[in-house]
Symmetry: C2
Subunit: 137 residues, 2 copies
DNA sequence: AATTAATTCTATAAAATTAGTAGAGTTTAA
DNA sequence: TTAAACTCTACTAATTTTATAGAATTAATT
């Protein structure tokens, strides 16, 4: 399941994607339009900025805008940024790989093979959903 | 990501699936073979029993055994039993549907459509992984 | 230079969830 | 009657999540 953070991030990105290219959106404006607690959204937008998904303009009349093309921001990206691994266990993850502490011999693990299959399928699906594809629908 | 509970449940089921059909396995035997804390495993096996995946024999020489065919226990089943919804948000879930509190009009939600697509794909993949398919690998 | 309105940053807190432990109770075979 | 197993309820500790608070910084305007 997605965390609230990831859900709010997606809603904020969808909001930004629906504005004119030149428009910068204030946090309060996004918060109200997408029903997100404002102070929480501040953190989320900073995370999105650090992830190079959005850019910001400081000071009066400042705000946020999409930095990446909406075609290049996928559900997988946002999941990874806020909720980490796509895979069901760290040992089956590409970007967040970690060995299981209770694992004796990873190559012998019956579970891992199946989980890698799931990750491949899920990732394919999640990379197919972009901010642009969501806005179009 | 899977919880430890779900992971342990799968490891326990894999252990049971590898025993002879007539064999009943004691909790301590499964715990040691699969490196699972014994008292924690007790709870998990009870959950699996309540979910009708395993059966038990009480008293001396008692233990657990597979109740369902290993072909009929899927990753999706175990995920749902221990970790709940497969979907990324409750509003996109079949079995754990719940409306988002911050949602104004669900039919207008841009996010939901995409998440339903993801759920369909993920579910298909997870239903394809059975205890039997894992043991064969 | 002062004011206003915005982002940025750090710390904190409350709530929920997860992971695991403890111990008494019940059942069954020998 | 005893031993060895499952069953059940309660509890605890740690972690993560979901925020909130407030000061600092930045930039445009007057």
């Amino acid at each position: 399941m997605l965390s609230h953070k990831a859900k709010y991030a997606l809603k904020a990105l969808l909001y930004l994607a629906q504005q004119e290219e030149t428009h910068v959106s204030r946090t309060i404006e996004i918060a109200e339009a997408a029903s997100i607690p404002k102070k929480f959204l501040e953190q989320i937008l900073l995370d999105l900025k650090r992830g190079h998904f959005v850019g910001s303009k400081q000071g009066k009349f400042g705000g946020y805008y999409l930095l990446k093309s909406k075609n290049d921001i996928t559900l997988a990206d946002i999941h990874r940024l806020f909720d980490g691994a796509i895979a069901l266990l760290p040992c089956a993850s590409l970007n967040f790989y970690e060995r299981c502490s209770d694992c004796v011999d990873e190559s012998e693990c019956l579970l891992r093979h199946g989980l890698i299959t799931i990750r491949e399928e899920t990732l394919k699906a999640m990379e197919g959903i972009t901010i642009a594809s969501l806005v179009k629908k």
